[in-house]
Symmetry: C2
Subunit: 149 residues, 2 copies
């Protein structure tokens, strides 16, 4: 399933006036080039986004609090902004896990879990070259895992 540029789409053209609002930043779905790598980096090219995907995909973390709890200590405003961005790109959807007050759980879409091979390769590289931990998705069934707070 292809991610569609829901609210925008054209490549950079008219420069804007004044500072960008938070919403404009979240919803800017334009690209720097036609390169697949450059385009993907527009989405996940930062220090937090793939960690959120990792937690949603492998560590059974679906609430704001659970995602916040991960070892890297993502700031709450960053987490909120990244989730908003991932939703706006169609990689994550949310659904209420309770009413009154309504609270949402976050889940990867098809496009979201299609990032698993990327995560696996990134992990492999970090394991081999930076002495990072190994995690075997097979051995935990996507339901959270005590070793990964």
């Amino acid at each position: 399933m292809k991610v569609s540029a829901v609210l925008c789409g054209s490549d950079r053209s008219e420069p804007h006036r004044g500072p960008m609002t938070e919403m404009q930043k979240t919803d800017d779905h334009s690209f720097r080039s036609h390169c697949s790598i450059a385009r993907t980096l527009e989405l996940v090219g930062d220090k937090w986004t793939l960690l959120v995907v990792r937690d949603l995909l492998w560590h059974g973390k679906h609430t704001f609090q659970a995602l916040q709890g991960s070892a890297e200590r993502i700031p709450t405003n960053m987490l909120a902004e990244r989730l908003r961005r991932l939703m706006s790109w169609g990689l994550v959807r949310r659904e209420p896990y309770q009413d009154r007050p309504v609270r949402y759980g976050y889940y990867l879409t098809e496009a979201g879990w299609a990032l698993e091979p990327v995560l696996l390769q990134v992990m492999q590289w970090g394991h081999r070259h930076l002495d990072g931990d190994w995690y075997d998705p097979e051995k935990s069934g996507r339901n959270g895992d005590s070793e990964w707070d």
Copy 2:
């Protein structure tokens, strides 16, 4: 071959005083967690680094000017800083391609080209989900390629 923390290594401990110098930023090889993904993102978690690796690996670009020329138009200060960082992590080495004045070409090390599977997966995702271009490394023999300026 494992990337060794040439000039540092220990995880975050003493907070420093005052603003960080350019050199301190380049040489900060500490990690946020033991996670291989988090560690790898510390190195390549931005919008430019993997594009530089892409150009070195697939598009036969080894001079500052050639790297600058890519479609995404990396600013010169960013390019210089990224190359410095990649060298400090041991993913890139440089060697003179002329004397007087001495000028350097940049090349991936073993650890650097070990990122190829990551790039391939990132490309695949971007091709499938963001309608990005496909590039076949096999079909160009790593010596540059007219389609990719």
